[in-house]
């Protein structure tokens, strides 16, 4: 069974068709890199999956349960708020701009959702947080505030914060694009370690080396469509579509 199924999803902003009939099946433990030029709809796709925006057409299932399904007339219907809450909790998301809570310490950022959403016991939430901080290499920053961290450190805290909710699927939207080049490595290493633990991951990225090395599958999007997909070897080594070739030619130059 697929952990995530996206079927014929379309999304418009006004007259602009941002996603056109997107279908992706994600197997458990699969790491998917989504690449494509600016404005091709990569962020919108992730935001639709985690329901930061609603889709217009199609359906999305998580672990076989519909978050949004098609009725007999083909209209997309969202499940009940209660069911959606359960399904959304299976996903974590990491943003380009980190979006840490600036008024909370690193530790408080990480335990915020476990405490308020899951009613976790503080002690347990803190011990989970400490383990996650060790995992992302930031144990010494436990009591720092986001303003005291570098971009790479902020992003690693953001990853720990998402992991604290114990998601089954992690969505990354250009997690290293806001970082100075020398800081991308530390974030990519954490993501790679996560992939090695068989976390299911959808990663929108411009880091082609990372996609090539870590992804099981690369999806190339342009103008709201999936143009081409396959293993990194296939897509990078032997792209078939001219638009993929043009994009890779530009970015790998």
């Amino acid at each position: 069974m697929n952990i995530l199924s996206i079927n014929n999803v379309s999304k418009k902003f006004g007259d602009l068709e941002v996603l056109k009939n997107i279908t992706i099946d994600v197997a458990e433990g699969e790491v998917i890199a989504i690449i494509g030029p600016s404005g091709s709809g990569k962020s919108t796709l992730l935001r639709c999956i985690i329901k930061l925006v609603n889709i217009d057409k199609g359906s999305i299932e998580i672990e076989g349960k519909p978050m949004v399904y098609r009725d007999t007339e083909g209209n997309s219907i969202y499940s009940s708020d209660k069911d959606i809450r359960v399904l959304r909790k299976k996903m974590g998301m990491v943003f380009q701009n980190f979006n840490l809570f600036p008024h909370k310490s690193v530790l408080e950022n990480i335990i915020e959702a476990p405490l308020t959403v899951n009613n976790a016991i503080r002690k347990e939430a803190e011990s989970t947080a400490d383990k996650l901080l060790a995992k992302v290499g930031l144990s010494d920053k436990r009591n720092s505030f986001p303003c005291e961290l570098s971009g790479g450190q902020k992003q690693r805290v953001a990853i720990a914060r998402a992991l604290a909710m114990n998601p089954a699927i992690m969505l990354f939207d250009e997690p290293t694009s806001a970082l100075d080049p020398e800081l991308t490595g530390e974030v990519l290493r954490v993501m790679k370690a996560l992939a090695e633990e068989r976390m299911t991951m959808l990663v929108v990225t411009h880091e082609m080396a990372f996609a090539r090395e870590v992804a099981d599958r690369v999806i190339f999007m342009d103008l709201g469509e999936i143009i081409e997909q396959g293993s990194p070897k296939e897509v990078f080594g032997n792209p078939t579509h001219p638009r993929t070739k043009a994009f890779l030619g530009q970015i790998l130059r």
Binding site: I50, L52, R85, R88, K89, M91, G92, M93, F95, N97, N99, L100, F101, P102, H103, E112, A113, T116, V117, N118, F145, P146, C147, A158, R161, A162, M165
Partner: protein
């Protein structure tokens, strides 16, 4: 200099301090939370709430505070609602200041980055939890300077209650000045307002310092 006169006058004016302080602190206690509620209504998804809050703010900021005091003290009895003068003043001041605070809070809330809502949302926080734990605490830091401004204006606005016969600091001083043909009482009243605005300024500076443990 007649020190005895100065001291006696100061003692006589302290009776007015009580009125000024009650009005000041009760108004703050009521108008700050009310202002926050109005701000939340103003930015809510409900069109009706937005409209009600918007109209409220327009009416209360769009007419003189003294007129509102008059309306509540002299006007409402016509509808069978009567207040003693102190209550009328407190009601009018609280409603009026709530409108100003609401606008300050609204702009403070709207200055918070959308990403804060999004990250709270994907972590599973409800709207109420997001407002209470993420947005409003950050808003509080940002609105300290304009709130401080309003509070200092309020200290001086309290003097408007002479209009409904309340014996506040300024009115008490004025009575003494007229009686004695001596402006000492005005000077003492002036010093009283200065000291209070100074104390409040210091309190707000401390609060700003307290919040300086982070920046964004």
């Amino acid at each position: 200099m007649d020190y005895d006169y100065i001291i006696n006058t100061a003692i006589a004016i302290t009776k007015g301090f009580k009125v000024t302080y009650s009005l000041l602190f009760t108004t703050l206690l009521l108008s700050l939370p009310l202002g926050l509620l109005i701000a939340l209504a103003r930015i809510s998804k409900s069109r009706l709430l937005q409209y009600v809050a918007g109209t409220y703010i327009w009416l209360l900021r769009g007419t003189p505070l003294l007129l509102q005091v008059f309306f509540i003290y002299f006007g409402l009895p016509a509808f069978g609602i009567t207040f003693d003068s102190m209550t009328a003043a407190i009601v009018a001041f609280s409603l009026n200041y709530a409108a100003y605070f609401a606008e300050i809070f609204r702009s403070g809330i709207q200055s918070i980055d959308r990403g804060q809502y999004e990250s709270a949302d994907v972590l599973g926080l409800t709207y109420t939890q997001t407002m209470k734990r993420i947005i409003i605490p950050q808003m509080a830091k940002r609105v300290l300077p304009p709130v401080s401004n309003e509070v200092i204006t309020l200290v001086k606005d309290t003097a408007l209650v002479f209009g409904i016969g309340l014996l506040d600091t300024l009115r008490t001083a004025q009575i003494i000045v007229t009686r004695d043909f001596n402006i000492t009482a005005f000077v003492i009243a002036g010093i009283f307002y200065l000291i209070n605005t100074l104390i409040l300024t210091l309190i707000f500076n401390r609060l700003e310092q307290k919040y300086s443990y982070y920046y964004d």
